[in-house]
Each structure stands twice: as structure tokens, then as C-alpha cells.
Amino acid sequence: MNVAPAPATAVLQAQRVSKWFGEVIAVNDCTLALGPGVTGLLGLNGAGKTTLFKMLSGLITPSQGEVLIRGHRLRRDVGLFRRVGFCPESDALFDWLTGREFIRLMVRLMGYDGTEVVARAERALELVHLADAADRRIGAYSKGMRQKVKMAQALAHDPEIVFLDEPLNGMDPVSRREIVALVQRLGDEGRCVVVSSHILPEIETMTRSIVLIHRGKLMAEGDITEIRDAIHDRPTIVALTSTEARRLASSLAGRDLVRGVEIDEFGRVVARTDHAVNFYRELPGWLLAESLPVDEIETLDDNLQAVFDYLVGG
């Protein structure tokens, strides 16, 4: 299901891309267009998320279709990598270099020289709060610091498009907060940031915009809430705050559209339905007919996990 139209400002496009390995189809006919802002790439293990991510970032070639950055093919026009920052999931680094040497090399290989290399490297190290440890060998870094130095090399040249593969892996809570804030800022600044993660709450802290892939197919693309709203006859859980909770619960329990009712620890009536759209359409009529007072209605599962579980049948 594709709920969001391709943004007019699309920076990164995948046009009917497929990738197969022998007889196994990893990604099947995916089309998407990403513009400025942070987009989370989601999928279960084996869903094709990593393959799609690597195709988008130019590490592997689609068996069919093409990936375009500003209308050009990244795999063919490698000069476009100036516009791209890539933070890999793999922990492999040049362990024998210091963090500073590594970042300087990476900046130099982006085409900068002299003082610009030094300035950009320092700025990137400060950006990820690694300046103090920059003269230590990367081999002596903790997992979180390794993650940060990978982030720094991805950002040092001010890329327009940033690919982050599991960027919060191994980070302590403080570092996580810093990196989440940094990612949000990158998106706010107008960069196209693609974050791949299998940890949904991580993605949710960074963005509400997702691309969901399942069994090699693009299942959904857009804002979490929009996706949720676009799912007709979806199940949902609704909490209703009422001064007459017991009467309300009793009334709802007898309705065909309601699968279950309970009163939670806050005294709210929690109703479960398999047909959210119909439920919301009928609810005002039920309340009016029985003069049931309701102060607040809240959807409890309007989050990424719920959308994800529903879409992939989890």
C-alpha cells in the first residue's frame, strides 16, 4: 500500500527496483521517492530492508529498475557520492588510525584539501561529541564511540543525503539522545536522511515518516498517522474517559463492532474493535442515544509498533 504521493522535491528515487539472488527475490518492484526530512526504513529481519537500503545507497545494483539521486544513477556517477553520507551498520573501521586521522582521510577523499580537511574534520568530531577522544586509536574506542566516528565521517562533508544504518547500535542513553537530536536536526535542515533500523521505538524518536518493507515488497510509505488512517477496517484500541465508566462499558460490550471492553487502572473504558472506521462512525450515535457522558477519547495504539504489527501481521 502506497499512501503518500511522491514528493515534488524528491531527492532520492527508487523506480521499480528489484533485487534477486539466484531464485530468491529480496526486493520486489519497489518504487519510492524521498525528499528532505528523516525517513525510517522499517522491516523485519529478512524482509528486504537491508537490500533496499544498500540499493538506495549505491552499494549494490538493482537487478531491475534504478535508483536515482537528483535524476542520476549513483552507481554509475560515483561523483554523486559527494552529496551522500553513509554510516554503515558494520563495525569494521580502520582500527589502527586515530579518530582524527580517519575523519581527515575521509574528508580528503571527498575532494577537500589543506585547511578545509582540518576544519571539516574538527567540526564533524565536535558534532558527534568525539573531539576529546579524537587522538585515540579507533581500535581502543568503545562501541558507542565507534558508532560516533562512523557518524562523523558520514557528515563531515555536509551531505545532502544521509544514510544511517542502525545508527544507535551500542550507544549509551546519553549518546543516543545526542544522536537522535542530531538526526532530527539534519532532517530539519532540509537533508534527506534515511534511517534503517529494526528497533521501532528508535525510529519513532527520530521521525514519523516511514517506509515499511515486508517480504520484499514496499508495504507502506508516509507518515505513521496517515498510514494508520489509510488502513480501513483496521483493529484499534480506544480509551474513553467518562464519569459513568461502568454504564459506558456495559453499553459498549453489547455492540457487534466491539470485540472487548475493560476498565483500566486509570478508570478509563478501554474498547477493542476490529473495524476502527465503523467504530468511530457509530460511536457518537451510541453515546447520544444513551446519554453517556465522555470527556476524552484516545487511540492507544496510534504508534509505530501498532501500525507495524498490523501491517506485517505481527
Binding site: M106, L109, E116, D158
Partner: protein, 286 residues
């Protein structure tokens, strides 16, 4: 700290969306790859192995006090049989195979891959670094062997001996360059390149290199030996004697030095082009 606006991405010094210059990028990759390769643990084991000719030279100093084996003969045999047939292949195998393959397996190649670099520049930089490390080890061994032979025995240093030594060094180093280029391509193309590379180095090169008629011309070792033979024609070393025997019995006229040099150069060039092509097709899954 604010990150610069994305519109400015790479638009100042870095300029445009063209890839970086081949020479500049290959230089930096070679510079850092060299530093990486000399830190590999295998440099110790290969370095120790490279002491074999030095040990043979020590044995010569200790055991041949009556001068039954002239220094030129020892040098020609060391060059033709020990270095060309064994040492050069071993050192090239150790650093050539891993030049690209290991970096791709480990995942560090991704950092070169995601820069505006031509694949040729990445390949060239890594290859040159591997060739430099292999050449350095071989050169170290050659210098050590020379010192063992000559220190306190300065009488052996004649003009002929020096010419022989220098030409042997050049041929051996050239051999290391050619073999490393071949193994780098093998390591780029194959997921498990070790066995095929060993079969090539010690199977095909040994058997084919000694095969009769023109079959041997299809081996690298033949052309290296031919270069050596022409520079050590009067030493009476074992490879030279075999060569003379073939000329006499089979009426095989060996190709000229220039021919062998060009063949080896062509082999290295073809291996380079093949390696670049394989790298362009390579996909990074780590």
C-alpha cells in the same frame, strides 16, 4: 553546532559531481593502505619466511670456506630458484590476494566505496600499496642476503657481481609486482581465492614453467627466469644450465629479454584491467 546547509554540500572546494582525480585519490588510498598493510600480523610470518635466502647465504659463508661455490653462482641460484620460484610467489600471494578481497570481507572498503572515487582509483591505490609492501619485504631480504654474502668478504664485490646483483634485484622486484597484480585480481574476483591462487603459484607455475616447447611461455615464472638468464648467462647456475640444455636438445630458442619484459608487463596490465572490472561489478553486502 550547525551543520552547513545541504545546498552547500561539496560545492566549495570539492566543487562538482565529478569523481576525484585518479592519481590524487589513488595516492591517498595507497598511502593509508600501505600503513594498514604493514600492520597486518602476517607481515611477521612472511618476513620470517623471507629470511630463508639469508639463511642459505649464512650457510654458504659458514660451510663453503674453500670457495667451491662462487658468489655469482650462489646469487644466480638464489635468484632463479629460491626467490623467483618461491619467495616472490609467497609474498605476492600474502599481500596481493588481500589487497581488495580482505578489505571487502572486513567491510572497510565501504568507506572508499562511498566517496566520489572511481573504482579504478580504489583498485590502483590498494594494488600499489600491496605491491609496495611485497616489494619492500623482497628488497629487505635481498639486501640482507647481500650483506651476509659481502660483509667481511669484500673481495667478492666485483663489477660483474654487482651487475648481477642489481639485475637480479630488478627482476625479482618486477616479479613481485607482476605476481601481486595477478593475485589482487584473483582476490577481487573470488570469494575463496586461496586455493586457486596456491594451485596457480605452485602448481601451474611449477609444472607449466618447466614444460617443454612453448607451453612454458604461458607462465610468469618462465619469463622472469628468462630475464634472469639473460642477465646471469655466464654463472652456470641451475636454471641457466637447464635453459642451455633445452636450447641444445630441443632447439628451443628462448624469447628475447624485451619480449619477456613486455609479456610480463602485459600480464600485469591485463590483471589490473580485469581487477578493476571485477571491482566495478562487486557489491558490498556488509
Amino acid at each position: 553546532m550547525n551543520v552547513a546547509a545541504p545546498s552547500a554540500a561539496g560545492n566549495d572546494q570539492a566543487g562538482n559531481d565529478r569523481p576525484l582525480g585518479l592519481a590524487v585519490s589513488a595516492f591517498w588510498i595507497a598511502f593509508f593502505s600501505f600503513r594498514e598493510m604493514v600492520r597486518r600480523r602476517r607481515i611477521l610470518s612472511v618476513g620470517l619466511l623471507m629470511l630463508l635466502p639469508v639463511v642459505l647465504a649464512v650457510a654458504w659463508r659458514l660451510l663453503d670456506r674453500e670457495g667451491m661455490i662462487p658468489p655469482e653462482l650462489l646469487l644466480a641460484n638464489l635468484s632463479g630458484m629460491v626467490y623467483i620460484h618461491f619467495m616472490v610467489a609467497v609474498v605476492s600471494l600474502a599481500f596481493g590476494l588481500s589487497a581488495i578481497g580482505e578489505s571487502a570481507d572486513e567491510g572497510t572498503i565501504i568507506y572508499y566505496w562511498t566517496r566520489p572515487l572511481r573504482r579504478e582509483a580504489i583498485y590502483l591505490g590498494r594494488l600499489v600499496a600491496a605491491q609496495a609492501v611485497a616489494g619492500l619485504l623482497v628488497a629487505g631480504s635481498l639486501v640482507a642476503a647481500f650483506l651476509v654474502m659481502t660483509v667481511g668478504n669484500f673481495g667478492i664485490i666485483t663489477l660483474d657481481f654487482l651487475k648481477l646483483y642489481v639485475s637480479a634485484c630488478l627482476v625479482i622486484l618486477f616479479g613481485a609486482v607482476v605476481y601481486t597484480a595477478i593475485f589482487a585480481a584473483v582476490g577481487t574476483g573470488l570469494k575463496k581465492p586461496m586455493l586457486p591462487a596456491i594451485l596457480f603459484a605452485f602448481g601451474w607455475e611449477s609444472i607449466g614453467g618447466n614444460a617443454p616447447l612453448r607451453l612454458q611461455e604461458l607462465t610468469v615464472v618462465f619469463h622472469l627466469r628468462n630475464l634472469l638468464h639473460n642477465s646471469a648467462a655466464s654463472t652456470g647456475s641451475m636454471p641457466n644450465l637447464l635453459q642451455e640444455l633445452k636450447v641444445m636438445l630441443l632447439h628451443e630458442v628462448p624469447p628475447s629479454t624485451g619480449h619477456s619484459f613486455l609479456v610480463l608487463l602485459a600480464v600485469a596490465a591485463v590483471a589490473f584491467v580485469l581487477g578493476c572490472w571485477l571491482l566495478r561489478r562487486k557489491e558490498i553486502f556488509r
